[in-house]
Symmetry: C2
Subunit: 229 residues, 2 copies
């Protein structure tokens, strides 16, 4: 059997990246954790392998090497690190790659509240990402609204993932990946410009979590069954 | 038994206003439909009474008269009509009233798409409303994300209503009202400034409805039971 496609999680040593890596490793995906520091990436990979169980395929690499080794990239860094990292990785990202951006421009990035967002000139952090990569790279916005704490646990996630992209094939590939997380349903949310709303929802959920002491998620109701992947 | 508090639905002859009126009339609330035209309001009230069944208390009045007769006001007008209507009604709204604003600044207001929003200088349509009423009036943002079509039907709504206000008593009163709609759970969403996100979500749901041909709603998951009213 051929190895499944490799997914590189850039900035993958943070809680969101670790959680996604864990869930996808359990689903049999071949994962690379990317980090500025290759050793930190390898340590994170080791941690995920030990949680994910036997046969989990998780390795760790410096971010550029991770980009060179995969064509499905997931970016999970705080907003304040997004642009600088993408500028640095631009030459390493292979043409034809899919870059899934989960960045949210929380005001916490500049010392403000995590329940508020900053305005991003391009409309959203994902659209900023699209401006910073080569034209042949397809940017997808997704995974903003999954609780990192829940992702790092063992339970089913009671959450939907809305996926936005101007490249319908990249969007579909991302939806298939989302649906591998137990409990998650993926929904096509249309063009990348709609990412701004997904990003805002994160701030709303963080505010609800602070107020109500929970791990808020979102389900979309009322769509026909074929809308959910 | 004393009559329940009266709710005036301003601009209540549109689909959202009619739908809320129907659901609350069925729950035994005393409803006034407000409209620019008293006769249109009375016709709408008659229609709701006939759908809501025996004993439904629904009357119709010109908007100013409706404000004078109630202290719980619900504003369901398109964004392009909101500011002008509030300026006109300012003297008629009684001090101490609660004004529940459900306005969304859809780009459709200026000939654009209903899946996109306009930027509102104050941050949200609800914050614009707060600027346009007397200080003694408490503005609450809620009911943006209930499908008007579903509200006008008979079925249980698979949706949550997030309620935002700077006045916690007004927020609580609104949450109790929201929870009278079968299926709806009300959630305290904090300050009025968070309304901007609720309003954006409407545009997202409209986009999903167009794309997937549904009547999208939203449930918030992962909060402790006491967060849901």
């Amino acid at each position: 059997m051929a190895a499944p496609p490799t997914i590189a999680i850039l900035g993958g040593t943070g809680p969101a990246g670790m959680g996604l890596a864990l869930r996808w490793a359990r689903a049999g995906e071949n994962i690379i954790i990317g980090s500025r520091d290759a050793r930190r990436a390898q340590e994170a990979a080791e941690k995920i392998r030990s949680k994910a169980g036997d046969g989990a395929q998780v390795s760790g690499m410096e971010n550029s090497a991770a980009c060179a080794a995969a064509d499905l990239l997931v970016l999970t860094v705080p907003f304040e690190g997004q642009a600088a990292l993408l500028k640095q990785l631009k030459p390493a990202i292979r043409p034809g790659s899919v870059l899934i951006d989960a960045t949210v421009a929380l005001a916490a990035s500049v010392g403000g509240r995590a329940s508020r967002t900053l305005g991003v000139w391009q409309g959203s952090a994902a659209q900023q990402a699209a401006e910073l990569v080569h034209q042949g790279v397809s940017v997808v916005a997704a995974f903003h609204n999954l609780s990192a704490e829940l992702l790092n646990g063992d339970e089913y996630l009671d959450c939907d993932v809305i996926v936005c992209s101007d490249d319908s094939k990249a969007s579909e590939r991302t939806r298939l990946l989302a649906a591998k997380i137990p409990g998650v349903r993926a929904i096509d949310g249309g063009k990348l410009e709609n990412a701004r709303i997904l990003e805002q929802i994160t701030a709303l959920l963080i505010g609800l979590n602070i107020r109500h002491k929970g791990h808020g998620g979102m389900r979309i109701t009322g769509l026909p069954p074929e809308a959910y992947q």
